[in-house]
Amino acid sequence: MSVRIVLLTLLVFACVLLGLSAGAVPLPLTAVWSGLISGQGPEAGIVRDLRAPRVVLAFLVGGSLAVSGAALQAMIRNPLAEPYLLGLSSGAGLGAVIAIASEAASPWAIPLAAFLGALAAVALVYRLSVVSGRRLDPHVLLLSGVVVGAFAGALMSAIMVLSDAPGVRNAFLWLLGGFGTASWRALAVFSAYAVLPLGVLLFHARSLDLLALGDEPARHLGAEVDRVRRLVYVCTALLTAASVATCGIVGFVGLVVPHAVRITVRPLHRSLLPLVFLVGGCFLVIADVVSRTVVRPLELPVGVITALVGVPLFALLLRRTLA
Protein backbone atom coordinates (compact mmCIF):
# COMPACT_ATOMS: atom_id res chain seq x y z
CA MET A 1 0.00 0.00 0.00
CA SER A 2 2.79 2.43 0.93
CA VAL A 3 4.47 1.93 -2.48
CA ARG A 4 1.16 2.82 -4.05
CA ILE A 5 0.87 6.01 -2.01
CA VAL A 6 4.38 7.11 -3.04
CA LEU A 7 3.66 6.38 -6.70
CA LEU A 8 0.36 8.21 -6.56
CA THR A 9 1.90 11.26 -4.87
CA LEU A 10 4.55 11.36 -7.60
CA LEU A 11 1.84 11.06 -10.26
CA VAL A 12 -0.15 13.96 -8.78
CA PHE A 13 2.99 16.14 -8.60
CA ALA A 14 4.02 15.26 -12.14
CA CYS A 15 0.55 16.09 -13.49
CA VAL A 16 0.41 19.41 -11.67
CA LEU A 17 3.86 20.42 -12.92
CA LEU A 18 2.97 19.34 -16.44
CA GLY A 19 -0.22 21.36 -16.24
CA LEU A 20 1.71 24.44 -15.10
CA SER A 21 4.41 24.23 -17.74
CA ALA A 22 2.47 23.19 -20.86
CA GLY A 23 0.25 25.52 -22.84
CA ALA A 24 0.15 28.11 -25.59
CA VAL A 25 3.41 29.47 -24.15
CA PRO A 26 5.46 26.46 -22.99
CA LEU A 27 7.42 27.23 -19.85
CA PRO A 28 10.48 25.36 -18.58
CA LEU A 29 10.11 23.84 -15.12
CA THR A 30 12.60 26.33 -13.70
CA ALA A 31 10.40 29.21 -14.82
CA VAL A 32 7.34 27.48 -13.34
CA TRP A 33 9.20 27.07 -10.07
CA SER A 34 10.47 30.62 -9.80
CA GLY A 35 7.07 31.97 -10.87
CA LEU A 36 5.33 29.92 -8.16
CA ILE A 37 7.80 30.52 -5.34
CA SER A 38 9.05 34.04 -5.80
CA GLY A 39 6.44 35.57 -8.06
CA GLN A 40 9.38 37.10 -9.92
CA GLY A 41 10.03 37.09 -13.63
CA PRO A 42 7.83 37.57 -16.67
CA GLU A 43 6.23 34.13 -16.29
CA ALA A 44 4.94 34.69 -12.77
CA GLY A 45 1.67 36.16 -14.05
CA ILE A 46 1.01 33.23 -16.39
CA VAL A 47 1.83 30.66 -13.72
CA ARG A 48 0.09 32.29 -10.77
CA ASP A 49 -2.98 33.89 -12.28
CA LEU A 50 -3.72 31.74 -15.33
CA ARG A 51 -2.28 28.29 -15.04
CA ALA A 52 -2.36 27.59 -11.29
CA PRO A 53 -6.11 28.16 -10.86
CA ARG A 54 -6.72 26.31 -14.10
CA VAL A 55 -4.74 23.25 -13.01
CA VAL A 56 -6.22 23.17 -9.52
CA LEU A 57 -9.75 23.60 -10.88
CA ALA A 58 -9.25 20.86 -13.47
CA PHE A 59 -7.90 18.62 -10.73
CA LEU A 60 -10.84 19.21 -8.37
CA VAL A 61 -13.44 18.90 -11.14
CA GLY A 62 -11.85 15.69 -12.42
CA GLY A 63 -11.78 14.24 -8.91
CA SER A 64 -15.38 15.24 -8.22
CA LEU A 65 -16.73 13.79 -11.47
CA ALA A 66 -14.78 10.58 -10.95
CA VAL A 67 -16.08 10.21 -7.37
CA SER A 68 -19.63 10.87 -8.62
CA GLY A 69 -19.20 8.11 -11.18
CA ALA A 70 -17.91 5.64 -8.59
CA ALA A 71 -20.78 6.41 -6.18
CA LEU A 72 -23.43 6.11 -8.91
CA GLN A 73 -21.91 2.84 -10.08
CA ALA A 74 -22.09 1.37 -6.58
CA MET A 75 -25.67 2.51 -6.15
CA ILE A 76 -26.92 1.26 -9.52
CA ARG A 77 -24.61 -1.76 -9.47
CA ASN A 78 -23.49 -1.12 -13.00
CA PRO A 79 -20.06 0.08 -14.19
CA LEU A 80 -21.68 2.17 -16.94
CA ALA A 81 -23.34 4.65 -14.59
CA GLU A 82 -21.84 8.12 -14.85
CA PRO A 83 -23.12 11.73 -14.39
CA TYR A 84 -23.03 12.50 -18.12
CA LEU A 85 -24.66 9.27 -19.28
CA LEU A 86 -27.36 9.46 -16.59
CA GLY A 87 -28.40 12.91 -17.82
CA LEU A 88 -27.24 14.79 -14.71
CA SER A 89 -24.73 16.88 -16.67
CA SER A 90 -27.23 17.96 -19.30
CA GLY A 91 -29.83 18.73 -16.63
CA ALA A 92 -27.24 20.83 -14.82
CA GLY A 93 -26.32 22.53 -18.09
CA LEU A 94 -29.95 23.39 -18.76
CA GLY A 95 -30.32 24.82 -15.27
CA ALA A 96 -27.20 26.93 -15.73
CA VAL A 97 -28.26 28.17 -19.18
CA ILE A 98 -31.67 29.20 -17.85
CA ALA A 99 -29.96 31.12 -15.04
CA ILE A 100 -27.60 32.85 -17.48
CA ALA A 101 -30.39 33.67 -19.94
CA SER A 102 -32.50 35.23 -17.22
CA GLU A 103 -29.58 37.58 -16.47
CA ALA A 104 -30.45 37.54 -12.79
CA ALA A 105 -27.85 35.12 -11.57
CA SER A 106 -24.56 35.94 -9.91
CA PRO A 107 -21.68 33.49 -10.52
CA TRP A 108 -22.36 32.03 -7.08
CA ALA A 109 -25.98 31.26 -7.95
CA ILE A 110 -25.35 29.55 -11.29
CA PRO A 111 -24.25 26.28 -9.63
CA LEU A 112 -27.46 26.37 -7.60
CA ALA A 113 -29.55 26.60 -10.77
CA ALA A 114 -27.43 23.82 -12.25
CA PHE A 115 -28.04 21.76 -9.12
CA LEU A 116 -31.81 22.14 -9.48
CA GLY A 117 -31.49 21.15 -13.15
CA ALA A 118 -29.43 18.08 -12.26
CA LEU A 119 -31.88 16.99 -9.55
CA ALA A 120 -34.83 17.42 -11.91
CA ALA A 121 -33.02 15.39 -14.57
CA VAL A 122 -32.17 12.55 -12.20
CA ALA A 123 -35.73 12.47 -10.84
CA LEU A 124 -37.08 12.29 -14.39
CA VAL A 125 -34.60 9.56 -15.37
CA TYR A 126 -35.54 7.55 -12.31
CA ARG A 127 -39.26 8.04 -12.95
CA LEU A 128 -38.90 6.91 -16.57
CA SER A 129 -36.96 3.77 -15.75
CA VAL A 130 -38.94 2.44 -12.79
CA VAL A 131 -41.87 0.47 -14.10
CA SER A 132 -44.17 -0.13 -11.16
CA GLY A 133 -43.42 -3.30 -9.28
CA ARG A 134 -40.45 -4.18 -11.49
CA ARG A 135 -36.84 -4.12 -10.46
CA LEU A 136 -34.68 -1.28 -11.68
CA ASP A 137 -32.92 -2.38 -14.88
CA PRO A 138 -29.58 -0.52 -15.15
CA HIS A 139 -29.70 -0.58 -18.94
CA VAL A 140 -33.16 0.99 -19.01
CA LEU A 141 -31.86 3.57 -16.55
CA LEU A 142 -28.96 4.44 -18.85
CA LEU A 143 -31.27 4.66 -21.82
CA SER A 144 -33.54 7.03 -19.90
CA GLY A 145 -30.45 9.03 -18.94
CA VAL A 146 -29.42 9.44 -22.56
CA VAL A 147 -32.96 10.39 -23.60
CA VAL A 148 -33.38 12.94 -20.82
CA GLY A 149 -29.89 14.27 -21.65
CA ALA A 150 -30.88 14.72 -25.30
CA PHE A 151 -34.07 16.51 -24.29
CA ALA A 152 -32.22 18.87 -21.94
CA GLY A 153 -29.67 19.47 -24.71
CA ALA A 154 -32.44 20.44 -27.15
CA LEU A 155 -33.93 22.89 -24.64
CA MET A 156 -30.47 24.36 -24.05
CA SER A 157 -29.95 24.92 -27.78
CA ALA A 158 -33.35 26.54 -28.11
CA ILE A 159 -32.68 28.93 -25.23
CA MET A 160 -29.24 29.82 -26.56
CA VAL A 161 -30.62 30.63 -30.00
CA LEU A 162 -33.65 32.56 -28.78
CA SER A 163 -32.17 34.47 -25.87
CA ASP A 164 -30.37 37.75 -26.35
CA ALA A 165 -28.86 37.92 -22.88
CA PRO A 166 -25.16 38.87 -23.18
CA GLY A 167 -23.80 35.83 -21.33
CA VAL A 168 -25.60 33.35 -23.54
CA ARG A 169 -23.43 33.97 -26.61
CA ASN A 170 -20.44 32.50 -24.77
CA ALA A 171 -22.50 29.68 -23.34
CA PHE A 172 -22.14 27.50 -26.41
CA LEU A 173 -18.36 27.28 -26.09
CA TRP A 174 -18.55 27.01 -22.34
CA LEU A 175 -20.98 24.06 -22.58
CA LEU A 176 -18.52 22.06 -24.67
CA GLY A 177 -16.39 21.97 -21.57
CA GLY A 178 -13.11 23.69 -20.92
CA PHE A 179 -11.01 25.49 -18.35
CA GLY A 180 -10.17 28.51 -20.50
CA THR A 181 -12.06 30.80 -18.15
CA ALA A 182 -10.62 29.32 -14.96
CA SER A 183 -9.83 31.85 -12.25
CA TRP A 184 -9.30 31.87 -8.52
CA ARG A 185 -12.89 33.03 -8.14
CA ALA A 186 -14.22 30.13 -10.25
CA LEU A 187 -12.14 27.84 -8.07
CA ALA A 188 -13.67 29.34 -4.91
CA VAL A 189 -17.21 28.93 -6.29
CA PHE A 190 -16.55 25.33 -7.23
CA SER A 191 -14.98 24.44 -3.88
CA ALA A 192 -17.85 26.03 -1.96
CA TYR A 193 -20.27 23.62 -3.61
CA ALA A 194 -18.08 20.53 -3.87
CA VAL A 195 -16.41 20.09 -0.49
CA LEU A 196 -19.50 19.05 1.47
CA PRO A 197 -20.83 16.41 -0.99
CA LEU A 198 -17.34 14.92 -1.36
CA GLY A 199 -17.11 14.62 2.42
CA VAL A 200 -20.58 13.11 2.70
CA LEU A 201 -19.85 10.48 0.03
CA LEU A 202 -16.56 9.54 1.70
CA PHE A 203 -18.34 9.34 5.06
CA HIS A 204 -20.77 6.82 3.51
CA ALA A 205 -18.05 4.76 1.81
CA ARG A 206 -19.01 1.61 3.72
CA SER A 207 -22.69 2.08 2.93
CA LEU A 208 -21.69 2.24 -0.74
CA ASP A 209 -19.90 -1.10 -0.32
CA LEU A 210 -23.13 -2.56 1.01
CA LEU A 211 -25.35 -0.94 -1.63
CA ALA A 212 -23.15 -2.50 -4.29
CA LEU A 213 -24.21 -5.93 -2.96
CA GLY A 214 -27.89 -5.26 -3.64
CA ASP A 215 -30.71 -3.66 -1.66
CA GLU A 216 -31.68 -6.67 0.45
CA PRO A 217 -28.19 -7.78 1.46
CA ALA A 218 -27.36 -4.14 2.20
CA ARG A 219 -30.36 -3.91 4.56
CA HIS A 220 -29.46 -7.20 6.25
CA LEU A 221 -25.95 -5.85 6.87
CA GLY A 222 -27.23 -2.65 8.45
CA ALA A 223 -27.47 -0.03 5.65
CA GLU A 224 -30.37 2.42 5.56
CA VAL A 225 -30.69 1.86 1.82
CA ASP A 226 -33.26 4.53 0.92
CA ARG A 227 -31.50 7.26 2.91
CA VAL A 228 -28.09 6.46 1.41
CA ARG A 229 -29.60 6.36 -2.08
CA ARG A 230 -31.12 9.83 -1.62
CA LEU A 231 -27.78 11.11 -0.33
CA VAL A 232 -25.96 9.73 -3.37
CA TYR A 233 -28.45 11.39 -5.73
CA VAL A 234 -28.14 14.76 -3.99
CA CYS A 235 -24.35 14.64 -3.61
CA THR A 236 -23.64 13.55 -7.19
CA ALA A 237 -26.13 16.16 -8.47
CA LEU A 238 -24.29 18.84 -6.44
CA LEU A 239 -20.86 17.77 -7.68
CA THR A 240 -22.03 17.56 -11.29
CA ALA A 241 -23.76 20.93 -11.01
CA ALA A 242 -20.68 22.63 -9.57
CA SER A 243 -18.54 21.11 -12.34
CA VAL A 244 -20.92 22.07 -15.15
CA ALA A 245 -21.38 25.59 -13.80
CA THR A 246 -17.64 26.26 -13.68
CA CYS A 247 -16.35 24.41 -16.74
CA GLY A 248 -19.23 23.15 -18.83
CA ILE A 249 -20.18 19.60 -19.69
CA VAL A 250 -17.26 17.19 -19.43
CA GLY A 251 -18.38 13.62 -19.93
CA PHE A 252 -16.96 10.17 -19.26
CA VAL A 253 -14.52 11.10 -16.46
CA GLY A 254 -16.80 9.23 -14.04
CA LEU A 255 -16.72 6.22 -16.33
CA VAL A 256 -13.04 6.01 -17.26
CA VAL A 257 -11.41 6.72 -13.92
CA PRO A 258 -13.25 4.36 -11.53
CA HIS A 259 -12.83 1.61 -14.11
CA ALA A 260 -9.07 2.17 -14.31
CA VAL A 261 -8.69 2.36 -10.54
CA ARG A 262 -10.69 -0.81 -9.91
CA ILE A 263 -8.25 -2.78 -12.02
CA THR A 264 -5.56 -2.19 -9.41
CA VAL A 265 -7.51 -1.78 -6.15
CA ARG A 266 -10.01 -3.88 -4.23
CA PRO A 267 -13.55 -2.55 -4.73
CA LEU A 268 -13.93 -1.16 -1.19
CA HIS A 269 -15.01 2.46 -1.26
CA ARG A 270 -13.08 3.61 1.80
CA SER A 271 -9.86 3.27 -0.20
CA LEU A 272 -11.46 3.40 -3.66
CA LEU A 273 -13.02 6.86 -3.35
CA PRO A 274 -9.84 8.78 -2.33
CA LEU A 275 -7.88 7.01 -5.07
CA VAL A 276 -10.60 7.68 -7.65
CA PHE A 277 -10.52 11.35 -6.61
CA LEU A 278 -6.75 11.68 -7.08
CA VAL A 279 -6.61 9.72 -10.32
CA GLY A 280 -9.64 11.61 -11.65
CA GLY A 281 -7.86 14.87 -10.87
CA CYS A 282 -4.74 13.74 -12.74
CA PHE A 283 -6.83 12.49 -15.67
CA LEU A 284 -8.60 15.79 -16.21
CA VAL A 285 -5.40 17.85 -15.72
CA ILE A 286 -3.74 15.77 -18.44
CA ALA A 287 -6.84 15.96 -20.68
CA ASP A 288 -6.74 19.74 -20.24
CA VAL A 289 -3.03 19.83 -21.15
CA VAL A 290 -3.79 17.84 -24.30
CA SER A 291 -6.73 20.11 -25.14
CA ARG A 292 -4.55 23.24 -25.11
CA THR A 293 -1.46 21.83 -26.78
CA VAL A 294 -2.59 19.58 -29.68
CA VAL A 295 -3.78 22.44 -31.89
CA ARG A 296 -1.74 25.23 -30.31
CA PRO A 297 -2.43 28.14 -30.13
CA LEU A 298 -6.11 27.10 -30.39
CA GLU A 299 -7.77 25.09 -27.64
CA LEU A 300 -9.94 22.03 -28.12
CA PRO A 301 -12.78 21.73 -25.60
CA VAL A 302 -11.62 19.32 -22.89
CA GLY A 303 -14.93 17.45 -23.20
CA VAL A 304 -13.79 16.40 -26.67
CA ILE A 305 -10.68 14.76 -25.25
CA THR A 306 -12.54 12.92 -22.46
CA ALA A 307 -15.15 11.71 -24.93
CA LEU A 308 -12.47 10.41 -27.28
CA VAL A 309 -11.11 8.30 -24.40
CA GLY A 310 -14.47 7.52 -22.81
CA VAL A 311 -16.60 6.36 -25.71
CA PRO A 312 -14.40 3.42 -26.78
CA LEU A 313 -14.19 2.31 -23.13
CA PHE A 314 -17.98 2.65 -22.83
CA ALA A 315 -18.43 0.45 -25.90
CA LEU A 316 -16.08 -2.14 -24.43
CA LEU A 317 -17.79 -2.16 -21.02
CA LEU A 318 -21.24 -2.30 -22.62
CA ARG A 319 -20.29 -5.39 -24.59
CA ARG A 320 -18.89 -6.96 -21.45
CA THR A 321 -21.95 -6.29 -19.28
CA LEU A 322 -24.29 -7.57 -21.97
CA ALA A 323 -22.23 -10.73 -22.51
Binding site: L202, D209, A212, G214, P217, H220, L221, E224, V225, R270
Partner: protein, 275 residues
Amino acid sequence: MILAARDIAVRYRAGGPLALNRVSCEVGRAQLVAVVGPNGSGKTTLLRALLGLVPVEQGLVLVDGRPVGQWPRRLLARTVGVVAQQEEALLPLRVADAVMMGRYAHLGALSAPAERDRAAVQSALERCDISDLADRSVDSLSGGEWKRVRVARALAQEPQALVLDEPTASLDIRHEMELFELVRELVESGLAGLVITHHLNLAARFAHRIVLLSRGELVAEGTPAEVLKRETLTRTFEWPLAITSWRDGSPQVVPLRSSDPTSQTDEIPPRQEAP
Protein backbone atom coordinates in the same frame (compact mmCIF):
# COMPACT_ATOMS: atom_id res chain seq x y z
CA MET B 1 -37.90 -14.69 22.54
CA ILE B 2 -35.51 -13.16 20.00
CA LEU B 3 -37.91 -13.25 17.05
CA ALA B 4 -41.67 -13.25 17.46
CA ALA B 5 -44.55 -12.75 15.04
CA ARG B 6 -47.92 -12.47 16.75
CA ASP B 7 -51.03 -12.96 14.66
CA ILE B 8 -49.62 -11.09 11.68
CA ALA B 9 -51.30 -10.36 8.36
CA VAL B 10 -49.40 -9.13 5.31
CA ARG B 11 -50.78 -7.85 2.03
CA TYR B 12 -48.41 -6.81 -0.76
CA ARG B 13 -50.94 -4.70 -2.68
CA ALA B 14 -53.84 -2.77 -1.23
CA GLY B 15 -56.95 -4.76 -2.09
CA GLY B 16 -54.85 -7.77 -3.11
CA PRO B 17 -54.93 -11.19 -1.45
CA LEU B 18 -53.42 -11.75 1.99
CA ALA B 19 -49.91 -13.17 1.67
CA LEU B 20 -50.03 -14.06 5.35
CA ASN B 21 -53.19 -14.41 7.41
CA ARG B 22 -52.96 -14.43 11.21
CA VAL B 23 -49.68 -16.29 11.46
CA SER B 24 -47.72 -16.55 14.67
CA CYS B 25 -44.24 -17.90 15.20
CA GLU B 26 -41.57 -17.58 17.86
CA VAL B 27 -37.87 -18.35 17.98
CA GLY B 28 -36.00 -18.39 21.27
CA ARG B 29 -32.34 -18.74 22.20
CA ALA B 30 -30.76 -22.12 21.43
CA GLN B 31 -33.82 -23.08 19.43
CA LEU B 32 -33.93 -24.02 15.75
CA VAL B 33 -37.27 -23.45 14.07
CA ALA B 34 -37.91 -24.69 10.53
CA VAL B 35 -40.56 -23.06 8.35
CA VAL B 36 -41.94 -25.46 5.75
CA GLY B 37 -44.77 -25.43 3.25
CA PRO B 38 -45.56 -25.62 -0.47
CA ASN B 39 -44.38 -22.99 -2.94
CA GLY B 40 -46.22 -19.74 -2.45
CA SER B 41 -47.34 -20.63 1.08
CA GLY B 42 -45.84 -17.46 2.56
CA LYS B 43 -42.54 -18.75 3.98
CA THR B 44 -40.37 -15.97 2.59
CA THR B 45 -43.05 -13.39 3.37
CA LEU B 46 -42.97 -14.52 7.00
CA LEU B 47 -39.20 -14.08 7.02
CA ARG B 48 -39.44 -10.65 5.41
CA ALA B 49 -42.06 -9.59 7.94
CA LEU B 50 -39.86 -10.78 10.82
CA LEU B 51 -37.04 -8.63 9.43
CA GLY B 52 -39.24 -5.57 9.02
CA LEU B 53 -38.91 -5.60 5.23
CA VAL B 54 -42.66 -5.72 4.58
CA PRO B 55 -45.23 -3.83 6.66
CA VAL B 56 -47.72 -5.95 8.58
CA GLU B 57 -51.37 -5.04 8.20
CA GLN B 58 -52.25 -6.41 11.59
CA GLY B 59 -50.47 -8.13 14.44
CA LEU B 60 -47.06 -7.48 15.88
CA VAL B 61 -43.48 -8.38 15.03
CA LEU B 62 -41.01 -8.21 17.90
CA VAL B 63 -37.25 -8.52 17.76
CA ASP B 64 -35.78 -9.03 21.21
CA GLY B 65 -39.01 -7.69 22.67
CA ARG B 66 -39.11 -4.47 20.64
CA PRO B 67 -41.31 -3.81 17.57
CA VAL B 68 -39.20 -4.43 14.47
CA GLY B 69 -40.17 -1.07 12.91
CA GLN B 70 -38.44 0.75 15.76
CA TRP B 71 -35.05 -0.86 15.05
CA PRO B 72 -32.51 1.16 13.08
CA ARG B 73 -31.15 -1.27 10.50
CA ARG B 74 -27.66 -0.93 11.93
CA LEU B 75 -28.75 -2.16 15.36
CA LEU B 76 -30.95 -4.84 13.80
CA ALA B 77 -27.91 -6.12 11.88
CA ARG B 78 -26.10 -6.60 15.21
CA THR B 79 -29.00 -8.71 16.47
CA VAL B 80 -30.14 -10.72 13.44
CA GLY B 81 -27.88 -12.21 10.76
CA VAL B 82 -29.57 -13.16 7.50
CA VAL B 83 -28.58 -15.55 4.74
CA ALA B 84 -30.99 -14.78 1.91
CA GLN B 85 -32.10 -17.31 -0.66
CA GLN B 86 -30.01 -15.79 -3.43
CA GLU B 87 -27.33 -13.22 -3.73
CA GLU B 88 -25.17 -12.76 -6.77
CA ALA B 89 -21.43 -12.42 -6.25
CA LEU B 90 -21.21 -9.31 -8.41
CA LEU B 91 -17.96 -7.74 -7.28
CA PRO B 92 -14.51 -9.29 -7.30
CA LEU B 93 -14.26 -8.97 -3.50
CA ARG B 94 -11.80 -10.97 -1.46
CA VAL B 95 -13.58 -13.49 0.75
CA ALA B 96 -12.05 -11.89 3.87
CA ASP B 97 -13.36 -8.44 2.78
CA ALA B 98 -16.80 -9.86 2.02
CA VAL B 99 -16.98 -11.41 5.51
CA MET B 100 -15.70 -8.16 7.04
CA MET B 101 -18.85 -6.52 5.67
CA GLY B 102 -20.62 -8.40 8.44
CA ARG B 103 -18.73 -6.09 10.81
CA TYR B 104 -19.89 -2.87 9.15
CA ALA B 105 -22.81 -2.59 11.57
CA HIS B 106 -20.23 -2.50 14.38
CA LEU B 107 -17.69 -0.20 12.70
CA GLY B 108 -17.57 3.59 12.71
CA ALA B 109 -17.96 5.40 9.39
CA LEU B 110 -14.28 5.97 8.77
CA SER B 111 -12.45 3.92 11.40
CA ALA B 112 -10.36 0.95 10.34
CA PRO B 113 -11.38 -2.51 11.60
CA ALA B 114 -10.03 -3.14 15.10
CA GLU B 115 -8.49 -6.30 16.52
CA ARG B 116 -11.91 -7.39 17.77
CA ASP B 117 -13.38 -7.12 14.24
CA ARG B 118 -10.57 -9.10 12.69
CA ALA B 119 -10.99 -11.76 15.38
CA ALA B 120 -14.72 -11.99 14.66
CA VAL B 121 -14.03 -12.44 10.94
CA GLN B 122 -11.35 -15.03 11.65
CA SER B 123 -13.61 -17.03 13.91
CA ALA B 124 -16.50 -16.85 11.42
CA LEU B 125 -14.22 -18.12 8.66
CA GLU B 126 -13.07 -20.97 10.87
CA ARG B 127 -16.56 -22.00 11.95
CA CYS B 128 -17.63 -22.19 8.32
CA ASP B 129 -14.42 -24.03 7.44
CA ILE B 130 -13.39 -21.53 4.77
CA SER B 131 -10.21 -20.04 6.28
CA ASP B 132 -8.27 -21.31 3.28
CA LEU B 133 -10.53 -19.31 0.95
CA ALA B 134 -9.83 -15.97 2.70
CA ASP B 135 -7.76 -14.53 -0.14
CA ARG B 136 -9.85 -15.90 -3.00
CA SER B 137 -12.13 -13.63 -4.99
CA VAL B 138 -15.81 -14.31 -4.34
CA ASP B 139 -16.64 -14.40 -8.05
CA SER B 140 -14.38 -17.44 -8.42
CA LEU B 141 -16.18 -19.55 -5.78
CA SER B 142 -18.49 -22.52 -6.30
CA GLY B 143 -22.12 -22.23 -5.20
CA GLY B 144 -21.44 -24.12 -1.97
CA GLU B 145 -18.40 -22.03 -1.09
CA TRP B 146 -20.24 -18.74 -1.75
CA LYS B 147 -23.11 -19.92 0.45
CA ARG B 148 -20.69 -20.63 3.29
CA VAL B 149 -19.05 -17.24 2.82
CA ARG B 150 -22.47 -15.66 3.29
CA VAL B 151 -23.09 -17.71 6.43
CA ALA B 152 -19.68 -16.58 7.70
CA ARG B 153 -20.58 -12.96 6.91
CA ALA B 154 -23.80 -13.34 8.93
CA LEU B 155 -21.82 -14.89 11.83
CA ALA B 156 -19.32 -12.02 11.74
CA GLN B 157 -22.26 -9.78 12.65
CA GLU B 158 -22.18 -11.63 16.02
CA PRO B 159 -25.97 -11.77 16.00
CA GLN B 160 -28.28 -13.33 18.54
CA ALA B 161 -30.42 -14.85 15.80
CA LEU B 162 -29.56 -16.40 12.47
CA VAL B 163 -32.17 -16.50 9.71
CA LEU B 164 -31.66 -18.61 6.60
CA ASP B 165 -33.92 -18.77 3.53
CA GLU B 166 -33.53 -22.10 1.73
CA PRO B 167 -29.85 -22.25 2.59
CA THR B 168 -29.23 -25.56 0.85
CA ALA B 169 -31.00 -24.98 -2.46
CA SER B 170 -28.58 -26.05 -5.19
CA LEU B 171 -26.17 -27.70 -2.74
CA ASP B 172 -25.18 -31.37 -2.97
CA ILE B 173 -25.75 -33.77 -0.08
CA ARG B 174 -22.40 -33.22 1.61
CA HIS B 175 -22.64 -29.42 1.54
CA GLU B 176 -26.27 -29.56 2.54
CA MET B 177 -25.54 -31.76 5.55
CA GLU B 178 -22.49 -29.71 6.52
CA LEU B 179 -24.56 -26.56 6.48
CA PHE B 180 -27.37 -28.02 8.59
CA GLU B 181 -24.82 -29.48 11.03
CA LEU B 182 -23.19 -26.05 11.28
CA VAL B 183 -26.49 -24.29 11.88
CA ARG B 184 -27.50 -26.81 14.52
CA GLU B 185 -24.12 -26.45 16.21
CA LEU B 186 -24.46 -22.65 16.23
CA VAL B 187 -27.93 -22.93 17.69
CA GLU B 188 -26.69 -25.25 20.40
CA SER B 189 -24.09 -22.65 21.31
CA GLY B 190 -26.92 -20.21 22.05
CA LEU B 191 -28.13 -18.62 18.82
CA ALA B 192 -31.77 -18.48 17.85
CA GLY B 193 -32.16 -20.11 14.43
CA LEU B 194 -34.90 -19.79 11.83
CA VAL B 195 -34.57 -21.73 8.60
CA ILE B 196 -36.89 -21.91 5.62
CA THR B 197 -36.54 -25.19 3.80
CA HIS B 198 -38.22 -27.60 1.40
CA HIS B 199 -36.44 -30.54 3.02
CA LEU B 200 -39.02 -31.95 5.40
CA ASN B 201 -36.73 -34.80 6.35
CA LEU B 202 -33.84 -32.54 7.30
CA ALA B 203 -36.22 -30.24 9.15
CA ALA B 204 -37.43 -33.29 11.07
CA ARG B 205 -33.90 -34.26 12.04
CA PHE B 206 -32.39 -30.87 12.84
CA ALA B 207 -35.17 -28.52 13.97
CA HIS B 208 -36.61 -28.31 17.48
CA ARG B 209 -39.88 -27.01 16.16
CA ILE B 210 -41.54 -26.85 12.75
CA VAL B 211 -43.94 -24.23 11.42
CA LEU B 212 -46.10 -25.53 8.55
CA LEU B 213 -47.65 -22.90 6.28
CA SER B 214 -50.14 -23.25 3.45
CA ARG B 215 -51.65 -20.45 1.36
CA GLY B 216 -50.55 -17.86 3.86
CA GLU B 217 -52.07 -19.61 6.84
CA LEU B 218 -50.58 -21.54 9.74
CA VAL B 219 -51.47 -25.23 9.37
CA ALA B 220 -49.52 -26.66 12.27
CA GLU B 221 -46.77 -25.71 14.70
CA GLY B 222 -44.89 -27.91 17.11
CA THR B 223 -42.21 -30.57 17.38
CA PRO B 224 -41.41 -32.51 14.19
CA ALA B 225 -43.42 -35.49 15.44
CA GLU B 226 -46.41 -33.25 16.11
CA VAL B 227 -46.37 -31.48 12.75
CA LEU B 228 -45.22 -34.12 10.26
CA LYS B 229 -48.42 -36.16 10.18
CA ARG B 230 -49.46 -38.05 7.07
CA GLU B 231 -52.92 -36.54 6.75
CA THR B 232 -51.81 -32.99 7.38
CA LEU B 233 -48.94 -33.17 4.93
CA THR B 234 -50.93 -34.97 2.23
CA ARG B 235 -53.57 -32.27 2.45
CA THR B 236 -51.08 -29.40 2.56
CA PHE B 237 -48.79 -30.56 -0.24
CA GLU B 238 -51.66 -32.08 -2.28
CA TRP B 239 -49.72 -35.27 -2.82
CA PRO B 240 -49.98 -38.66 -1.13
CA LEU B 241 -47.23 -39.20 1.41
CA ALA B 242 -46.22 -41.80 3.92
CA ILE B 243 -44.40 -41.28 7.20
CA THR B 244 -41.70 -43.57 8.40
CA SER B 245 -39.14 -42.91 11.08
CA TRP B 246 -35.40 -42.91 11.41
CA ARG B 247 -33.55 -44.68 14.23
CA ASP B 248 -33.40 -41.52 16.35
CA GLY B 249 -37.18 -41.40 16.22
CA SER B 250 -37.47 -38.44 13.87
CA PRO B 251 -40.31 -38.80 11.36
CA GLN B 252 -39.25 -39.12 7.73
CA VAL B 253 -41.51 -38.33 4.82
CA VAL B 254 -41.79 -40.54 1.74
CA PRO B 255 -43.76 -39.17 -1.21
CA LEU B 256 -45.79 -41.96 -2.79
CA ARG B 257 -45.86 -42.95 -6.44
CA SER B 258 -49.14 -43.57 -8.19
CA SER B 259 -48.20 -47.28 -8.35
CA ASP B 260 -47.86 -47.48 -4.55
CA PRO B 261 -50.82 -49.07 -2.74
CA THR B 262 -53.08 -46.21 -1.68
CA SER B 263 -54.23 -47.96 1.49
CA GLN B 264 -50.89 -47.00 3.08
CA THR B 265 -51.38 -46.97 6.80
CA ASP B 266 -50.00 -44.25 8.99
CA GLU B 267 -46.64 -45.73 9.80
CA ILE B 268 -44.29 -47.90 7.78
CA PRO B 269 -41.69 -49.70 9.87
CA PRO B 270 -38.13 -48.45 9.35
CA ARG B 271 -36.27 -50.50 6.78
CA GLN B 272 -33.96 -53.10 8.27
CA GLU B 273 -30.38 -52.46 7.41
CA ALA B 274 -28.48 -55.18 5.61
CA PRO B 275 -26.10 -56.98 7.96
